[in-house]
């Protein structure tokens, strides 16, 4: 693999216009990745699902250079049509279209230069891989006091013209004071057996609001890793919703630093898995100052041979008095072969805090099924109704009504 990495990296350097300084930085990242390789189960954060094994098993010919220049016709059928929206379309890891037609163009700025300062301190070799192989960092700036009129949907599409088995992507978002962004990540993959590595970096200034919805619904044979780093200033709010159902493997990682007072973070997630799917959500919420709040709700429905893992960590600094932190993870196991793992972690150094977590897992309640069947539903219907009720709880937490309806429809839940 290392030779492949090296030669693909050389190809990237040859075809792109990096300054010598940038090449030096990138080389550093590459060397870090070569040194550490893909994360494995020996690392605490990867204990439940070992990505190095999973990649080995699924992708035999790893290649990293995405020398992709063809322009593609965008198949309009994959686009979301029930909701007016701005779009950014990625096909096979390359930007195909940017469309902010609904917005005031002066209020949004898109910079696509390589940022010199890419360094990001986080112990994760996948971020090194990402930093080494991306050729551009797109930075989206939302200016002070501007709220986007329509949500922005970022389409992550792949098709069979893809040249490498690994795609790296990075976007930076800067939300100015009192601004608001609703962002939907929408995955639709026709190519299979690719490893997609996405890194978002959000910076939320005072009073800004970020709503991020990740929708991975359609069954595909890809492996995905998504990392969101969120920095929050005073009184800012971030809301993240994850629908984790489509890919073979998907790990969503969220690192949220509550740097400003009265800032709050909400994370809600649904796993709906079957046949050989292995998904994970890992969150780290760092409460660093007083009066911050976080809330997490993760629910899993696990079918045959599927496995989900939730690792949630709430960290409370000794300065962060009056913190309110809450975590709840629930799972329904539908089959003998399904497996649920959880590691809800609290690390607390301040005394005037309210932190709690809960985790429950088990099968569907036979008594409830009996109750429904005695009212005339058949077994399958009763089961579906109970699962519907179990999951709708999470969707209800979505604060944007339009998007809530969209997601309810996509999952196929009944209100």
């Amino acid at each position: 693999m290392n030779e492949q990495l090296q030669s693909d990296f050389d190809k990237l350097v040859k075809t792109s216009k990096f300054s010598s300084e940038e090449i030096k930085i990138k080389k550093n990242f590459l060397n870090n990745f070569i040194k550490n390789g893909f994360p494995n189960r020996k690392q605490e954060d990867w204990k439940f699902l070992d990505i190095s094994q999973i990649i080995k098993k699924n992708i035999s010919d790893l290649s990293f250079f995405n020398g992709y220049s063809q322009s593609n016709k965008i198949d309009p059928s994959v686009l979301v049509d029930v909701l007016e929206h701005n779009k950014i379309i990625f096909i096979n890891g390359k930007i195909e279209k940017i469309d902010f037609n609904f917005e005031d163009q002066n209020k949004i700025e898109i910079i696509d230069e390589t940022k010199k300062d890419m360094s990001f301190e986080y112990e994760n070799s996948l971020i090194d891989l990402n930093s080494a192989f991306i050729d551009k960092i797109f930075k989206i700036l939302i200016k002070k006091n501007y709220s986007l009129k329509k949500p922005l949907i970022i389409y992550h599409l792949t098709n069979d013209k893809i040249k490498s088995t690994n795609i790296n992507l990075r976007l930076d978002f800067e939300l100015g004071e009192n601004s608001c962004l609703k962002l939907i990540d929408y995955f639709a993959n026709t190519a299979a057996k690719n490893f997609i590595n996405i890194f978002y970096n959000f910076n939320l200034e005072k009073d800004s609001i970020l709503k991020n919805y990740k929708i991975d619904k359609y069954r595909n044979n890809n492996l995905k890793y998504s990392f969101n780093n969120i920095e929050q200033d005073n009184n800012s709010v971030s809301e993240t919703f994850i629908l984790s159902a489509g890919s073979d493997y998907f790990k969503n990682e969220i690192n949220c630093n509550l740097n400003g007072e009265y800032s709050s973070a909400f994370i809600n997630g649904i796993f709906s898995l079957k046949e050989n799917q292995q998904h994970e959500i890992r969150t780290t919420i760092n409460h660093l100052v007083e009066n911050t709040k976080s809330y997490q709700l993760i629910k899993s429905v696990l079918g045959r041979n599927s496995k989900s893992a939730y690792q949630g960590r709430i960290f409370v600094n000794s300065k962060a008095q009056k913190t309110d932190g809450y975590q709840l993870s629930k799972a329904i196991l539908l089959d003998e072969t399904s497996e649920f793992n959880a590691k809800p972690e609290l690390e607390i150094y301040a005394d005037d805090v309210k932190c709690s977590h809960g985790s429950a897992s088990g099968s569907l309640d036979e008594n409830s099924i009996f109750y429904l069947m005695s009212r005339g539903l058949n077994y399958q219907q009763s089961k579906e109704l109970l699962i519907n009720g179990f999951l709708i709880d999470v969707v209800e937490k979505i604060t944007d009504v339009e998007i809530k309806n969209l997601i309810t429809n996509i999952i196929g839940l009944k209100q």
Binding site: N341, K343, I348, G362, S363
Partner: protein, 480 residues
Amino acid sequence: MDTREKDIEKLKDYKYGFTTDIENIKAPKGLNEDVIKFISNIKKEPQWMLDFRLKAYERLKLLKEPNWQKPKYPKIDYQDLYYYSAPKSMKDKPKSLDELDPKLLETYKKLGIPLQEQARLNGIAVDAVFDSVSVATTFKGELTKHGIIFCSMSEAIQKYPDLVKKYLGTVIPVTDHFFATLNSAVFTDGSFVYIPEGVKCPMELSTYFRINASETGQFERTLIIADKDSYVSYLEGCTAPMRDENQLHAANVELIALDDAEIKYSTVQNWYPGDENGKGGIYNFVTKRGLCKGKNSKISWTQVETGSAITWKYPSCILKGDNSIGEFYSIAITNNHQKADTGTKMIHLGKNTKSKIISKGISAGFSDMTYRGLVDINSKAKNSSNYTQCDSLLMGNKCGAHTVPYIKNKNFDSNIAHEATTSKISEEQLHYCQQRGLNPEEAVGLIVNGFCKEVLQQLPMEFAVEAQKLVGISLEGSVG
């Protein structure tokens, strides 16, 4: 310093921090094959026991000290420790209590366990382990009548080799983790209990551990076997004198419950925690594991952890037999610079197995407390359930409280429920108590005791009183 502060200061002093001047026999310093042979030889052990130790030592050479735990400590030089230390007068073992070194007896009196009196009054059979050798076992006659074997490990190796051979190392094999394997290689003594079929042990069995000599590690090994349809309740208490250097305590405790048997194991651990600047104190790295081997068996751990500079242990239950039950009740209190990383593991293998975990952590001063637990329900463990509750209480903003539960559910018939909260004593509660005439210290004591009640209730009567007092003493001076 006003008088009140002085009083607090006095109370904070470690009550059990005296050393006894007794001549000791020590093995040469360091860890090597010769030392192991020396220990085995001085204890007149049979060849198979020596082989067991050497096998563990071979394995130990390949192992690395683990370092994933939260409380970090300076590297221990294992070659700079004495692995065997016995009071000299023990060379010819006394036949009865009257023959014991009076100084030894006095030590126990200071500890609050006058052997004779306590034995007679409480009906508790005491097996006292002083440094590394079991000194005396009281109440032998009564126990023999029921066919119960309660003696020191060394005695059991001599007298009941078949039982020891059959069960020793079956729950904690010599191939286990670093500290357990170290213990297997160099363990010196400990208690051995065998309850025959159908016998309900008529009294509480009890051990008192005490580390006396400096630079020694205490490596005791306890093995409790409850045969079919039997019951035993076992108490363990620990103390150590004050010393500036850190001392290592790496014990192994193995419990085996056969069909329909029940073992209740209670610990009150009050090792020297170090002074208020975090100097000295015991490293308490103990491996405790129970195996519910037979169907309908039950193992219950209750622990009150108030001492030690670092506590790092996870009393665990392997629920192998169908319908077996594992329980874990724990209070852990850390003050000053103490650190604790403790919790439990419940491994469900059999059908219809149940486990319950209640953990209460209290941290004050500059201390750090971690609950770390594992609940693992295997795919064959149909219809199993677990309930976990871990609550933490913080006093002051210089201490930490952490919860790290690992939950693995591989069986769709089984349920796991886990809850955890972290909070502090509310001003309202304190105000209410003070309004009714309690001073702040008393008020905190009362509230903390209420917080711990669920666990304290699980302790046998005599221990519950002691534990309640310990809870009070440990938190002295942490208010305001």
